[in-house]
Symmetry: D2
């Protein structure tokens, strides 16, 4: 389908269900997509961080995007991560997901490689955009790549037409506001899309100009985020904060695992997958290696969060 | 060839010469390997950070390891980096380089993925070693992966036989000494190899127990590092420091580029490749995208470092 | 005066005007306080980061708090920073500012000292609160102390009555929301005050439960922040965003200086003081050593920001 | 006494014994100084990080330097830390310790304050040196101040005569070597002193040009470090490594405490003080607030390290 410009609404980063042997479980993946569609989402983002893209082999990545694109059949826009260390490697992923039918690609700053000077980041996005057959979204995720995208740089690349949008997972809402404001003020092409990845601040981000949200927790409760998206810009001062607060409480599940046993990534992805398993959406809650699996008591804590939100 | 245990001596991380179009220049690569062999090195390490592994596509990586293994024909051990974000992706590279004939693989902690809890790092190396057909070296490079390998963890994995050696690019010589001492004291299998990646401290590392060195600058001056390797453990208190100081001065070339124009990676790799080009070893000094090329005046500064070391 | 519980409204961190010789310019300081009072602020915060507390000697700090407390004569609550590395040093400042009449103290986590384990931070606040004659606010400022205050820790210390409030300069609005929500849900004493230090997000912070704001930019435009404070909770969906956007544009002055010449602190404090000087509030825009002064062209850029906001 | 130029030898950063009420225990402090003198040290460094300077009040700092200077009576040079956030505050400490008779001051880059641009750091040292009545040593301690001192900056300030020496606690032996080499090559005044703070690398640092060492562990075993200092430059290839390895093993005591209970500072200072208490040098092992005290089982682990080194 043609990508709306700007892309708006709730665009969940789709979890990648795995079998116990850590192969992509396509049946569960498609059930998850159906669950999101039923929740009313406005697009899907495959192969993002919540999708465990960093853990999937190239073959597994291809399987995911082909399955989702084929299943949706143009019903909703599909964004696909092209997550890799540097320009040429990213372009291989771009070619692969575009061939599989993705409507746009989502690309981080270079990482591992020490090519994180603003001039190097700009060159990276320009080279990627030159060769990409589909629009390029910048993915600002300093927790993973260990550098942020400067506001000025994003606005400059938007104005050049290099970038079609921003997926902001920086946690820096002030910087996000500056990008949104800059775009509104005319930096950037018409239709530049500003999306927040902060599930705890979707209401605030919408209030200050976000076009939409990419909340990992929307895997678990797409209906809640879609309700929030509808309430917030309408200025419903009772409904929107209440819905957001309910989702904030639900998000507490990412703290269900013992932080002495595992890092925050294993805990968060593990909780989302456990919740999807408990809700009957996916067959197996396994996360990719080398993430640590949740213990039974930790899964019970996830269940308690679902119960409090009346989701089980 | 059978990998010596421990692997000792000078094992340069081989630069990857590129054409102006950023394809692997195999002819130049083999001339560079010949230059290293002529310098007396004891092994080569392809697809490391100095090799721009983070910038090479999978196809380019394969081309490099096949060309070098084929060219050396067992004359010297070939280590190959299997640099990627997480376990399954690393294992794909391991399979590829082992099939091409690499004698060992060099593997970092997970990166990008937030799977950097010690339990997750340990699980990563255990899973990789279970499936790797060749020995696994740990690659400690916090500047790229944003976590270090704790001394205790390295010694534990050495004792289990998971790791065959350590390539230390942490800059933390005190931690390096603790690993070397622990190995000597019996933690770790017989033949565990402790290699330093700090070209400015090769003499010091050898004095405190390193088996060898993996100096990026050895691309430019392999003879110098081989001389240093021979002098140092012999306790030659005149020759070793003098040779090391000469190499420290030569290393100044990594500061030839203007730090306002590019990051330290572009500057260092750019300088090494400029030097190899000036010395007539490779045809083109291009570095991979999105690294910034050295300007002519910066190249002249590299030439001055070579001249001071009587290398041009 | 008795400190309101919770403290609400706009509580600017008061700049500390200096003479060209870098002594406290008390006349200018009191004019600045009058300017803030005329703007309608609800309290003042002296000896915070924007006040250059880190640069002032103990004698200068004492002079500031005595002058401001004496001048206000109980008209408004006065919070005072007690910024130092560790417990006993902080307590010396607490005694000094409390003796001078401050109504509350604002205290960071330990810094420089490597005592930043959650157990050490908790012990620090407990020891300080035991001996402080006035209420203690936690000051969350990771950019300066290089650790954040975990949400759970703040809520635990609030529930114990150790803390009377939080001054949040973390930039992490999601964490801020979790503290505000936790306090509302009953963690913390009645009257616990949650204040944001993010001048670009005052509307958003108020919408999600902030009691007030501590914006450095309010030195320059107190009237604007007081208007915003009144509009925001009233749900004025036209006025509040417009006022906040105006202030965001004005805040652009912190980028007036050339980042190649100085760090972001020199640039921000230098811009605020230049603006106060240009507005005629203070006699001299000097900042404390070793901060770099703004050059004339940079001051002109500050003037342009003021002009655009119709403040000169 | 006149400060030797360069200052050479073993210059321990003297622990500050405290009473159970956390007051300076002057009797124990002087016994500790006698213990160091008996061990043959070449100077003492009071009010450094190992001295818990960051935790001591101004009154306590003054007591320490007056007691030690008075006790030594010119027998050995006394360096004193002037550890504070910025120029004016540092100068107050400089005045205080110089008045008390310190022979030199040791000064870090600005911290807390965001004045860490190279131009700001240089300005800081220049202003301090202009007003200091005694020579100024730079203290490179990124773990505390969160920035390193660039090699070029140190050499530039040395050449200007601003700095009389460097106390390097960066852990970056390559950078240390570059400073030592630059000084030898004529950057810096005659007599510039290059001292390492890395107790695990004293032999290596001496081999590559250090004038001396400032090892925290020398509180516990001054004799060992003095022996090492004598053996190392003599090129005693049996004795020096053996002594250094013995000291490395002894240093293991900093890991005696449970890292889940406290940070690394509490653990290290706690271990040194426990060891001094077990050896009968000081009356009470208390560390300053808010550091966590070692538990009895952890103290027993410290005792085991002492026993293995035949020090109890």
């Amino acid at each position: 389908m043609a990508l709306p410009a700007p892309l708006t609404g709730v665009v969940p980063p789709v979890c990648t269900p795995l079998t116990p042997e850590r192969e992509v479980d396509v049946d569960s993946l498609l059930r998850l997509v159906d669950h999101l569609v039923a929740g009313g989402v406005h697009g899907v983002f495959v192969l993002g961080s919540t999708s465990e893209a960093a853990f999937l082999t190239d073959g597994q990545r291809r399987r995911v995007v082909e399955a989702v694109v084929g299943h949706l059949g143009g019903q909703l826009p599909v964004l696909a991560g092209a997550i890799d260390m540097s320009t040429a490697r990213v372009l291989d992923h771009v070619a692969s997901v575009a061939a599989a039918g993705a409507d746009a690609v989502v690309v981080t700053a270079p990482f591992y490689a020490r090519a994180q000077h603003p001039a190097e980041i700009a060159r990276h996005y320009r080279r990627v955009a030159e060769k990409s057959p589909v629009p390029v979204f910048a993915y600002d995720i300093p927790v993973s790549v260990h550098t942020g995208l400067p506001v000025d740089l994003v606005l400059e690349l938007a104005a050049e037409g290099v970038l079609a949008g921003l997926k902001d997972s920086s946690g820096d809402l002030a910087g996000f506001r500056q990008v949104a404001g800059g775009v509104r003020a005319g930096a950037g092409p018409a239709g530049f899309s500003v999306l927040t990845g902060s599930e705890l601040l979707v209401d605030a981000a919408l209030a200050l100009g976000a076009d939409g949200a990419v909340p990992g927790l929307a895997n678990v409760d797409p209906h809640g985020f879609v309700r929030l998206y509808r309430l917030a810009p309408a200025g419903d001062q009772d409904g929107a904060p209440a819905e957001q607060e309910r989702l904030c409480a639900l998000f507490g599940m990412v703290g269900a695992a013992d932080p002495a046993r595992m890092g925050p990534g294993s805990a968060a992805i593990g909780a989302f997958k456990a919740a999807l398993h408990l809700r009957g959406v996916i067959d197996c809650p396994a996360t990719a290696e080398p993430q640590i699996p949740l213990a039974p008591a930790e899964v019970e804590r996830v269940r308690a969060f679902l119960a409090a939100a009346e989701l089980v």
